[in-house]
């Protein structure tokens, strides 16, 4: 930053403070106006990258067979048989009411499925539940049919026979949140007398984002209050804390507004605020807080000496404008690397948060000093006269680090080494079941559906071939047998099952005929026979109109992305070895898409971490005019990344798309600490030739804001109270990340700088 620009900034801020504050507010208002167009998108489908192969297959399947998403509603009275007229009546009412919803494509339940009967030269396709009101004989007949047809029993009646299951499919491209809300509206009204369990990806995706964002927003508010209290206890000045929060709030408004503006101007889904963007406010808050805390603590330190607010603000600006500019430019660059992310939502994330950081930089550099200089500070107040607890603590730590720098370095390296070893154990996976605490309503429902019903997850296999050819149908049957042998698969369904049922029915319900007929003619005759009494849409979800593509759907209990990856690989291997090459088989479903999505998020997180570190190293090297400084600047970042991911490995916290956001926080905040430290080191070393107490002085100067910053950001430990386990983990890891970045700077980096002090100072002088 040139001295011309620095002087201009100081003049603007201190000679025209009111104008500077007003202009800052006006420009923020212009940005914030964009919030009008900020779209909060709870529909998870919007975030799926359309170029992913599995997403494309999935879209093709949706186009051919309708939506493949499923919501499960299991209801009943524990221990009470479902075979009574009351519950059948309720099932009838609920099924029919849901079927009328505009976002519902199909409802499958005992009320809506058909039965195929054949006896004495007679075949009939009829409704399994013929009427709302049922006689005892009709209920007995339904029960007999269900018990004889495992495929129906496993999908629609619980193992204990005390719950019915309703399977609901949305129309293609239905908004998951709207769909879930509409269905819940019906069930909450009609099933109030029953125990109800909900499941299915579409239900989780439809309800979870809203609950999750609500939960995070609530805890964030708690976090902000705790942060304010920590700042207040340390700074002991309400106006100072309010000024800091003004910078934070205006930055947040600018970020949200810019996202709205960008969405309005580009119309791109990249700028929708989705579940993946929920971490943005927290990340910007920590970064903006960092800038503000550095300015305010420095100001207090200087005003204590000068007793003149304007002079103190001037010294603060002279000292901090460059490091704040540098920290901002490095963090902005780090976030802008997200432009290369394969996930479009992260592109919008990176751009919008970069704007927020840039605005936080401008506000901390111009508006905050203007506000500080305007206020009439009481020079005899405790806040000004006496150093705070944190400040005194850091003074004591600084001298010890300098004295025992080699031991500190060795200890830090040992700790980093041991903890980093845990990275080997780091598990990259998403298991929706483990998102919810044991005993929570959602977890109980998922466990119930897994144990008593056919699970809550599904996967599809799209098979291209002549579906009327018995050989194709037999191959489908082989695949289904393999799939059903997997412990997580409860049932599978395909047109082959229907053909077998019809074959049995046409042969007078003789169970010996429950197999695929041997000729194409017979298969075709069965379809024709069915068409005489079934509906044309009955097979829509199983086979396409031209009988050229069939779909095998597996119903599964909750499975993690690692397990699904193994399962898909095993199945593909089985298909390669056992299935005719003429058949083209592709695997998809929300689970497979989710596996690929998680891989992409994790991949993009790692790319982001490495590219950010490189970018930060380059920028620091350029500004501090030595590669050595660039390398030193990234030391606390690298150690913090190693420590955090190592700790996750040791403690068994999965690296998922949710915990991946920590890398952004570490980089955003960690780099700030390092750059402030280096800037101060260079400033102080330039001032005198006596470098005996250099490290001590630097730690005295920047240690306090670093610790205060870190301590106040630890307020996000409030997330530990979340009902979602990954959010709890983020809360805990956030505290750890703050500790590791601040201590990494004040111990590891400080001792390295102390060891190479003379060389660094010499080089510094040369420059």
């Amino acid at each position: 930053m040139s001295s011309k620009l620095k002087n201009w900034s100081i003049r603007q801020s201190l000679d025209h403070p009111v104008r500077t504050i007003l202009l800052s507010i006006i420009f923020t208002a212009i940005f914030a106006f964009g919030i009008k167009w900020l779209v909060i998108e709870d529909d998870m489908m919007k975030i799926l990258p359309q170029d992913m192969e599995t997403v494309q297959t999935w879209n093709t399947i949706k186009d051919e067979f309708g939506s493949t998403d499923i919501m499960f509603i299991a209801f009943g009275k524990p221990g009470e048989s479902v075979y009574n007229e009351n519950i059948f009546r309720t099932l009838w009412d609920v099924s029919n009411a849901i079927e009328l919803l505009p976002n519902v494509y199909e409802v499958m339940s005992i009320t809506t499925v058909n039965r195929i009967d054949g006896d004495d030269g007679f075949m009939e396709v009829s409704n399994l539940q013929p009427n709302r009101e049922l006689s005892a004989e009709e209920i007995a007949s339904i029960r007999k049919y269900i018990e004889e047809n495992e495929n129906i029993a496993s999908r629609f009646v619980s193992e204990n026979g005390d719950f019915f299951n309703i399977v609901v499919k949305p129309i293609p491209n239905a908004k998951t949140d709207v769909f879930s809300e509409q269905v819940l509206g019906i069930t909450e009204e009609l099933l109030s007398d029953y125990t109800v369990h909900y499941g299915g990806q579409i239900y989780l995706m439809g309800t979870m984002p809203a609950i999750l964002t609500g939960d995070v927003a609530r805890l964030m508010r708690v976090g902000v209050i705790v942060m304010a209290i920590i700042l207040l206890l340390s700074l002991r000045s309400v106006p100072a804390v309010l000024m800091n929060f003004t910078v934070i709030i205006l930055s947040l408004l600018t970020m949200a507004g810019s996202m709205g503006w960008l969405f309005k101007l580009t119309g791109s889904d990249k700028f929708l605020f989705s579940l993946m963007n929920t971490s943005m406010p927290m990340v910007l808050l920590t970064i903006a807080n960092s800038d503000g805390v550095h300015v305010i603590t420095k100001f207090f330190k200087k005003v204590r000496i000068t007793k003149d607010a304007r002079e103190a603000a001037k010294i603060t600006m002279e000292s901090l404008l460059l490091p704040i500019f540098l920290t901002s430019i490095t963090t902005i660059s780090a976030f802008l690397t997200m432009i290369f992310s394969p996930l479009q939502q992260l592109v919008g994330y990176g751009i919008s948060i970069a704007i927020g950081i840039a605005w936080a930089w401008i506000l901390s550099s111009l508006m905050l000093p203007a506000m500080l200089s305007l206020r009439k500070w009481k020079m005899d107040s405790k806040a000004i006269k006496k150093a705070g607890v944190f400040e005194r603590f850091i003074d004591a730590v600084g001298s010890r680090i300098m004295r025992y720098h080699k031991i500190v370095l060795a200890s830090a390296l040992i700790v980093v080494g041991i903890v980093a070893f845990g990275i080997k154990k780091l598990n990259i996976e998403v298991n929706i079941m483990t998102f919810f605490q044991k005993g929570s309503e959602i977890r109980n429902s998922l466990e119930f559906l897994d144990e008593e019903m056919s699970g809550t997850m599904d996967m599809q296999f799209r098979i291209e071939g002549d579906i009327k050819d018995p050989e194709t149908l037999k191959q489908m049957e082989i695949i289904q047998e393999f799939l059903e042998s997997h412990e997580k698969v409860a049932a599978s369904i395909s047109i082959a099952d229907i053909i077998k049922m019809m074959h049995k029915a046409v042969e007078n319900n003789d169970p010996n005929y429950e197999f695929i007929p041997e000729t194409r003619g017979k298969v075709n005759n069965l379809f024709t026979l069915y068409s005489m009494s079934g509906d044309p849409e009955d097979f829509e979800s199983l086979v396409d109109y031209d009988y050229e593509t069939g779909l095998v759907t597996t119903l599964m209990s909750t499975i993690s992305t690692t397990e699904i990856a193994h399962f898909v690989n095993e199945t593909e291997d089985f298909i390669d070895k056992n299935i005719d090459e003429d058949l083209s088989i592709s695997t998809t479903g929300i689970l497979v898409v989710f596996r690929d999505l998680t891989d992409k998020i994790v991949e993009s997180s790692f790319i982001s971490i490495f590219s950010s570190i490189i970018v930060i190293c380059i920028i620091a090297s350029i500004f501090f005019k030595r590669i050595r400084w660039g390398l030193i600047a990234i030391t606390p970042l690298i150690s913090s990344v190693l420590l955090t991911f190592g700790l996750m490995g040791w403690t068994g916290i999965d690296f998922s798309h949710i915990t991946a956001i920590l890398s952004s926080v570490i980089i955003g905040v960690g780099v700030d600490f390092a750059i402030h430290y280096i800037s101060q080191f260079k400033r102080i070393s330039n001032r005198s030739n006596d470098h005996t107490n250099l490290t001590n002085e630097v730690i005295d100067d920047v240690g306090y804001p670093i610790i205060l910053n870190s301590g106040s950001n630890m307020a996000f430990g409030a997330l530990l109270a979340s009902t979602f386990i990954p959010i709890q983990q983020i809360g805990g890891l956030m505290v750890f990340a703050m500790l590791s970045t601040s201590l990494g700077t004040l111990t590891l980096m400080a001792s390295i700088v102390e060891i190479f002090k003379n060389k660094l100072v010499e080089k510094n002088k040369e420059n």
């Binding site: 009829s126 026979l529 005489m532």
Partner: protein, 249 residues
């Protein structure tokens, strides 16, 4: 006052116009051939525009109370045959010949809403209505493709056991031909629209094309009647199970 108005309207209607019931009765009593032989082409089209085409040979008698249909194409369906005999006051008799199984199978007729041969027509749609099981309201007169029509609302009475809540029917004023009919489902939503085209042959006016569009599923059926032969003296004994196996040349 309103009572008098109703009486005046009713008297006016009675004196100068026909009631809905009378119009429906006139349409129902229109003269039809004793028997009909035709080659049918049935084109089913789904919501994505994909089609399935079948060719059938149909022989019917007594206003289609007796009907036998042989499947001629596609090759997969060739040889399949269907026999229907309606019985007043009892379930209809329906049988299907499955050549690949060498078996005749009876088909249930009590599900009136079931689709017929994968088409958009249900058995109820294909069966003539018993006049007194429905109530009729004349909604007015309307031009339909330049033909002046009576527009009737037909509501099934409980004894009709219909799967629909009502029908809106356009009946031509001159010939009492049903030109278009809308079918509303139990919840009152429009489900299907059927349009019929006619031609005159041997003094009869007979359908040559029936198009049914299910507006809810966006599936449609086009039935075209070719090679129409009327009153050829078809015997009752044609409508027997044994004849299903005899594919006409």
């Amino acid at each position: 006052m309103s009572k008098y108005l109703i009486i005046i309207v009713m008297l006016f209607s009675y004196t100068f116009g026909q009631s809905g019931y009378e119009i429906a009765k006139s349409a129902d009593e229109r003269e039809t051939p004793k028997d009909m032989t035709t080659d049918l082409s049935m084109i089913l089209t789904n919501k994505k525009g994909r089609t399935r085409t079948s060719t059938l040979h149909s022989v019917s008698k007594d206003n289609a109370e007796k009907q036998i249909i042989w499947f001629l194409a596609p090759a997969d369906d060739k040889g399949v045959a269907f026999l229907k005999i309606e019985h007043a006051g009892a379930d209809d008799e329906m049988r299907l010949w499955l050549p690949a199984f060498n078996k005749v199978r009876r088909i249930s007729s009590n599900q009136k809403s079931d689709s017929f041969m994968g088409s958009d027509m249900s058995y109820e749609d294909m069966t003539s209505r018993t006049l007194d099981e429905y109530s009729y309201e004349l909604l007015g007169e309307e031009l339909l493709d330049d033909v002046l029509c009576f527009k009737l609302e037909i509501t099934p009475k409980p004894e009709a056991e219909s799967n629909y809540s009502k029908f809106i029917t356009w009946i031509s004023k001159d010939e009492y031909l049903t030109l278009q009919e809308e079918y509303y489902d139990k919840s009152g939503r429009l489900e299907k629209v059927r349009t019929i085209k006619y031609a005159e042959q041997k003094g009869y006016i007979v359908p040559t094309e029936i198009f049914v569009k299910n507006v809810q599923t966006k599936h449609s059926t086009l039935l075209t009647f070719d090679e129409l032969k009327l009153d050829t003296g078809i015997e009752d004994n044609l409508f027997q199970e044994k004849n299903l196996k005899r594919l006409p040349r």
